[in-house]
């Protein structure tokens, strides 16, 4: 490992240690009715992962999230590329996308439930509407702001449209698109979980909601811990790739 990689590894280790200490201190203040301490939560999570019922919920969430992410990427990339290559259409539609990005989509959950019913389709729809917008916006901007020199080069070389997209457009826009995908990942995850909290009978979000109802602090903490561990590790990997892609472009 290079010196820089070591440094960031040490940074992450310090962050994790600081969070664990803060958690333990908060527990000391808040007491056992409010939360569970770190060690107990890790143990309980390890125990949960061996039970079939919990794995059922986990699997339901994983399936919904996978579908939602796939759809968010498909819609996001399709919208982003289409609008990015048509300047006028992007001027018309981009502000609508940005407005949609900023509205509290959580208020739409009853509409989604009425339209899709309880269950997998509603969760997937909820995850997708959260996740596709950043992918679309980042892709759109990346494609639209592509270096004019590259366009001229493609023109001079008389590249076919397919060739142009494959060997110029995608490589040039990839770093920005990847940033959009990274943000889309987080939002799709939270969207799917929110969808499960409000309209499902299975999944981690549902489990969380029942735990909240029953004041089952240990379960709440264990489920949050699992989600945080998953989100943090994937985000960290995505950030590393993101930085690499952006550096390569310089």
């Amino acid at each position: 490992m290079t010196a820089k990689a070591w440094l960031s590894a040490i940074n992450s280790a310090i962050l994790i240690a600081a969070l664990l200490v803060a958690w333990q201190l908060l527990f000391a203040v808040a007491g056992p009715q409010a939360m569970a301490p770190p060690l107990q939560t890790f143990r309980y999570l390890a125990h949960l992962l061996t039970t079939d019922a919990f794995r059922d919920h986990l699997e339901a969430t994983a399936r919904a999230f996978a579908f939602a992410l796939l759809l968010a990427l498909l819609f996001g990339l399709a919208i982003g590329f289409t609008l990015g290559m048509h300047r006028f259409a992007s001027e018309v539609i981009e502000p609508i996308l940005v407005s949609f990005y900023s509205i509290p989509k959580i208020t739409l959950y009853p509409v989604i439930l009425l339209a899709f019913g309880l269950g997998l389709p509603a969760k997937v729809a909820f995850g997708t509407i959260h996740g596709f917008v950043p992918v679309a916006i980042f892709t759109l901007v990346a494609v639209r702001n592509i270096d004019p020199v590259l366009l001229k080069t493609a023109h001079v070389l008389r590249l076919s449209r397919r060739k142009f997209v494959m060997s110029i457009l995608i490589p040039a826009a990839l770093p920005e698109i990847f940033t959009g995908i990274r943000i889309g990942f987080s939002l799709t995850l939270i969207g799917t979980l929110l969808g499960e909290m409000f309209g499902a009978q299975r999944g981690l979000g549902y489990l969380l909601m029942t735990a909240i109802g029953l004041q089952n602090v240990e379960l709440i903490m264990a489920v949050i811990l699992l989600i945080v561990l998953f989100a943090a590790s994937v985000s960290t990997i995505l950030i590393v790739v993101d930085h690499r892609l952006h550096r390569r472009m310089l």
């Binding site: 409010a34 001027e91 018309v92 900023s102 509205i103 208020t107 979980l193 909240i212 945080v228 985000s235």
Partner: protein, 250 residues
């Protein structure tokens, strides 16, 4: 008004008319959605009756408090850690993961810590909004041109004068972007919290109406929230564009 804006309005109007027609033709049944024209009529009736004034006041006040706190704390924290590379590098994975965590899951904990009043809801809104404000403050401070800071040093401006005359005006558009996100997240936080466990506020009224199949109340309230958040967002966006223009002129 430019051509793109005209097309945009036309597009949105066409979408609304399409939904209206689908509803009237019975393709979308009434249990799922009423025609948009009736939603607007119901909204007017609802607002005129004043039955929702209490809920609206409650929600908007809580959103405002959460937002103001988040903006103040976010700017303060951003300014504090801006110069410290190591701290920022350490916190980056946390910021990237933050929005994938269902903060609502901490709601029961907050209720135990702060009681059943408005504080837990405000805190949820605050927790969601503050990180966006921190990230955008850091971004804004990063973009203050070096030469301006050198000028401040040459003129021997004190820290307060530097902040007032140089840093703030230069970073203002980015701070405003942060405020925009803070408003959006404060809405999401407060309304989501009201959905889950509250007995007051628009979020509660929406979920109450949903559980009673009362679309005549539910849809107008959803539309109301969307209109308010879009209005605030577009006002801030316009201001942001203005500041950006002024910044690039000087």
């Amino acid at each position: 008004m430019n051509r793109a804006a005209r097309y945009r309005i036309l597009l949105v109007a066409a979408a609304i008319v399409l939904i209206e027609l689908l509803c009237r033709a019975g393709v979308i049944d009434r249990l799922t959605m009423q025609p948009p024209s009736e939603m607007v009529r119901d909204l007017v009736v609802l607002l005129a009756s004043g039955s929702m004034n209490g809920a609206m006041l409650k929600t908007l006040t809580n959103v405002a408090i959460a937002c103001v706190l988040a903006v103040a704390a976010g700017i303060a924290f951003g300014v504090m850690i801006h110069g410290h590379r190591a701290v920022r590098n350490g916190l980056e994975p946390l910021f990237a993961t933050y929005y994938a965590i269902p903060i609502y899951a901490f709601y029961p904990l907050l209720i135990i810590l702060f009681g059943l009043g408005d504080a837990p809801q405000i805190l949820i809104g605050f927790m969601l909004a503050v990180v966006a404000m921190i990230v955008n403050t850091l971004n804004g401070l990063d973009r203050v041109p070096r030469v301006l800071m050198k000028t401040a040093r040459i003129y021997r401006l004190g820290p307060v004068a530097t902040a007032r005359k140089i840093t703030l005006p230069s970073a203002a558009p980015y701070l405003l972007t942060g405020v925009k996100f803070a408003v959006a997240y404060a809405f999401i936080g407060v309304i989501g919290a009201e959905f889950i466990m509250s007995r007051t506020g628009i979020g509660y009224e929406i979920s109450f109406a949903y559980n009673n199949f009362d679309n005549k109340t539910m849809y107008p309230l959803i539309i109301l929230i969307l209109i308010i958040s879009i209005l605030i967002n577009s006002t801030l966006s316009r201001w942001e564009a203005l500041l950006m223009q002024r910044r690039s002129r000087t």
